[in-house]
Symmetry: C2
Subunit: 147 residues, 2 copies
C-alpha cells in the first residue's frame, strides 16, 4: 500500500514538475522576446542579435529568400539601426509550445508609427544551448494582409 501511495505521489510530482517546467519556459521566452522587441522599437537591433544563435535563419517580407546565419543577419540589421521608430506596440496573444530544449513562440504584433499601424504575424523558434541560455534559431516575420 505504501508503495502505491509513493508511486502516485511520484507520478503527480512528475506531472506537476513537467507543468511547471513548461510554464517556466513559456515565461522565460516571452520575457526574452519582449526585451529584444523593446530595444528594436527604439532602433536598436542588439537585443535580437545577442538573442540569436550562430545558425539562425530568418524570413521577412523584404527578402526574396531565407537569410541564413548570424553574420548575415547582423549585416542585414546594420542599416536598420536608428531607422525604426515605433511609438507604441502590442504583442497580441503570445503562445509558447515547448519541449525540453526547443520551443516555438507565436504572436500577432501591431506597431504604431507616425504613418499608421502595421500588423504582423511573428514566429520565433528557440533552442536551449549547452550553457542553458535560450537562443533564437529561426525568425519569421510577415504582414497580415487582411486588415
Amino acid at each position: 500500500m505504501k508503495k502505491i501511495i509513493l508511486l502516485i505521489f511520484l507520478l503527480f510530482s512528475q506531472m506537476s514538475f513537467s507543468q511547471n517546467l513548461k510554464t517556466d519556459i513559456s515565461g522565460t521566452i516571452i520575457a526574452l522576446e519582449k526585451a529584444a522587441l523593446e530595444k528594436w522599437n527604439s532602433g536598436d537591433p542588439s537585443g535580437y542579435i545577442n538573442l540569436s544563435a550562430e545558425d539562425v535563419s530568418y524570413f521577412d517580407p523584404s527578402l526574396s529568400q531565407r537569410l541564413d546565419g548570424l553574420e548575415n543577419l547582423k549585416k542585414y540589421y546594420e542599416p536598420i539601426k536608428k531607422a525604426v521608430e515605433v511609438h507604441k506596440y502590442e504583442m497580441i496573444n503570445p503562445q509558447v509550445v515547448a519541449m525540453q530544449n526547443m520551443a516555438v513562440l507565436t504572436f500577432n504584433f501591431h506597431s504604431y508609427k507616425a504613418e499608421g499601424v502595421s500588423k504582423w504575424n511573428c514566429t520565433e523558434v528557440y533552442r536551449q544551448e549547452a550553457d542553458g541560455q535560450w537562443k533564437i534559431v529561426h525568425t519569421h516575420w510577415s504582414f497580415c494582409i487582411k486588415p
Copy 2:
C-alpha cells in the same frame, strides 16, 4: 589504456549516433512535408490535416490573426478543397534544425499556376508525439514581397 580506447570509441559512436539521428529527423520531416504538399497542390488538404497536431497554430497572409487548433484549421481548409490547382512547384533549399523531439523545417516555395508564379516563405514546427509520429504544431506561410 584499454579504458581510454573504449572511452574514445564510445565518444565517437555517440557523436555519430547524434549526427545520424539529426540526419534521420531531417529526412523524415522533409518527406512528410513533401507528401502533404503533393496532395495540397492537387486540391486535397487531407495531408496537412492528418499531419497537424490537435494544438496546431497557423499563420497565412489571408488571416487577420493566428488561427488556433486543428478543428479551426479543418474548417478553414474546407472551402479551399479543389480550389488549388498548381501545375508545378519547387521546395527551395529546405533546412531542418532539430532537437530530440522538436524540429523546425524552413524553405522557400514557388508555385506555378495558370496566372503565374507565387513566391512564398514557409516555416513548419514539428513535435514528436508519444506514439513516435511527427506532427506539425505550427505553420507559417507568407508571401515574398520582393520579386
